[in-house]
Amino acid sequence: MGKHVLLVEDEINIIEAIQFLLSREGWKVDTHSDGATAVETVRTMKPDLVVLDYMLPGKNGIDILTELRADPEFARLPILMLTARGQGRDRELAERAGVSRFMSKPFSNTEVMTAVRDLVQLAQ
């Protein structure tokens, strides 16, 4: 069994596509769509990597990222942020909050898979 990825995203069709891609390569994939409870879900599941959307209901990706980085257990957890808000200001905010990789929608599947592999490999 491959590494464990938690996909935090509220667009159901994006979830299905990314879940398919990751599962096909042997990753164990869990999904979560609610921003408000995302931090708690990460604490419970302890994934090897989080794919995190920027705009989520309940709490945005930056706030989730900030909370996770404040917890020593997840300070170095690989987090790939996907966003439809690709402006420089958002990227800067994400980088300040400690994102591992930042990717703008619409992304290519190859970009996502390469980023996931690289991040997990770097974390090992």
Partner: protein, 435 residues
């Protein structure tokens, strides 16, 4: 230098433009070349028949020589000079420039006016693009749907071993997403089209309300018909296209009706003529709160006053524009406005002279005060509302000699550099320097 004192300069330029020698013109009008030379160097005043003769010889209207370029042209040139930060002595030569090079002066003034118009348009559109929640949601929807379609289509195109079940599922997803994309793209294009159309609807409920208030200033000054009049205005207003804007407008009008019941327009005008716009004295005179009197003063058309009301979170609940004091339609306003200083001291009244970074650095007298709204609740912090009345400062010689706070509209459309209140870069180039 006085405008008529430059008649000689204009004669010299017109003669040169026509390719006429000084001696030939002098001969034509029956004076010596040396006397014409003195006239052309503004060392002899000229008028009467001699001016008419020279104008006839140069084939121009006498006023072109005596009055020079139009006042508006001179004003536009002086504005352009100030904008370009030319030294004062250069700016003072605007009329001379217009007299000597009328064609170039017209071209420069026209370019300056065009730039000013475009800058206003950029400010408006930038304000909208940067902070409009409808646009942000629309763009997010388009990009998210495009991401889904791109990812799913790639899987279908590249993975030949995909099972029939997954293939059907992804086909269905693409079908649903493509419909969604078509819908959200149309909505986005419709939104952007509306931005450029002159008669386009204003977009957000707040803007519809602003357009409604601006279009009914006279009726709102009195609201003599009370509730019935407020009803009629809201139900017949073409500016209020949505239920939300009608609700907002009705809420505002309800308060205006209550305000005008205690402070009638004719009484207010009488008191104004006695006390001037002194909000504390006027509030005492009518036995109402200072924010109450500010709201009433804002409705008096002759004052041409602006008004802003904000809650403690900084959200602007009400805005009435006045020329030169830009109030952002979306997002946060300038934190240096006196409006925000009174939040910590309900009951305190602040009067401050402020300067806006407009082309002519418009100056305003702002009165601000905060008061509690709603009922008191035990152990709960009070809800506060701050009100700021914006009065154009009197155009007197000493108007700029008193201490002034340099404020702006909102950071993203404010050109001030090195501002202590700056929270984000400005799209106007000067503003980046201080961020």
């Amino acid at each position: 230098m006085a405008r008529d004192a430059l008649t000689g300069t204009r004669i010299r330029e017109r003669r040169a433009m026509g390719g006429l020698k000084q001696s030939d013109l002098a001969k034509q009008i029956g004076i010596s070349a040396s006397y014409l030379n003195l006239i052309e160097h503004n060392r002899r005043r000229i008028g009467g028949k001699l001016l008419l003769d020279i104008a006839a010889a140069l084939d121009v209207e006498p006023t072109v020589l005596s009055e020079g370029a139009e006042a508006a042209l001179i004003a536009a040139l002086q504005e352009a000079a100030q904008r370009a930060r030319l030294p004062e002595e250069e700016s003072a030569r605007a009329e001379e420039f217009a007299g000597r090079f009328p064609g170039w002066a017209e071209a420069l003034a026209a370019a300056h006016r065009k730039i000013a118009d475009l800058q206003r348009m950029v400010e408006t559109l930038s304000d909208r693009l940067a902070h409009d929640p409808e646009l942000a949601a629309s763009v997010h929807e388009v990009l998210s749907t495009a991401a889904s379609i791109r990812s799913t289509a790639s899987i279908l195109a590249e993975d030949k071993s995909i099972t029939a079940e997954w293939r059907d599922r992804f086909h269905a997803n693409i079908d649903a997403d493509s419909r969604r994309l078509a819908h959200s793209s149309k909505a986005l294009v419709g939104f952007l089209d509306a931005e450029t159309g002159e008669a386009a609807p204003s977009g957000s409920p707040q803007e519809e309300v602003a357009a409604f208030l601006a279009g009914h200033a006279q009726a709102l000054e009195t609201l003599e018909g009370g509730d019935a009049e407020a009803d009629r205005l809201v139900t017949t207003a073409t500016e209020l296209a949505s239920a939300q804007s009608r609700h907002l407008a009705r809420t505002i009008l309800d308060r205006m009706v209550q305000d005008s019941a205690r402070v009638g327009l004719s009484d207010l005008k009488d008191a104004l003529s006695s006390h001037g716009p002194d909000v504390i004295t006027l509030a005492g005179h009518f036995g109402v709160s200072v924010p109450h009197i500010m709201r009433r003063l804002a409705a008096v058309q002759q004052l041409d006053a602006g008004l802003v009301v904000a809650d403690r979170a900084g959200s602007l609940l009400f805005r009435k524009d006045t020329d030169g004091f830009a109030i952002p339609r979306h997002g946060a306003a300038c934190p240096l406005w006196p409006l925000f200083q009174v939040m910590g001291q309900p009951g305190q009244v602040i009067r401050a002279r402020v300067e806006m970074p407009t082309r002519d650095n418009a100056v305003f007298d702002c009165y601000a005060a905060a008061e509690q709204v709603g009922p008191a609740i035990l152990n709960a912090p009070p809800l506060l509302e701050a009100t700021m009345l914006i009065l154009p400062a009197p155009d007197t010689p000493g108007a700029r000699d008193v201490p002034m706070e340099q404020v702006g509209p909102a950071c993203h459309i404010c050109p001030r550099s090195g501002c202590r209140g700056r929270r984000e870069p400005s799209i106007l180039s000067d503003g980046f320097g201080g961020f």
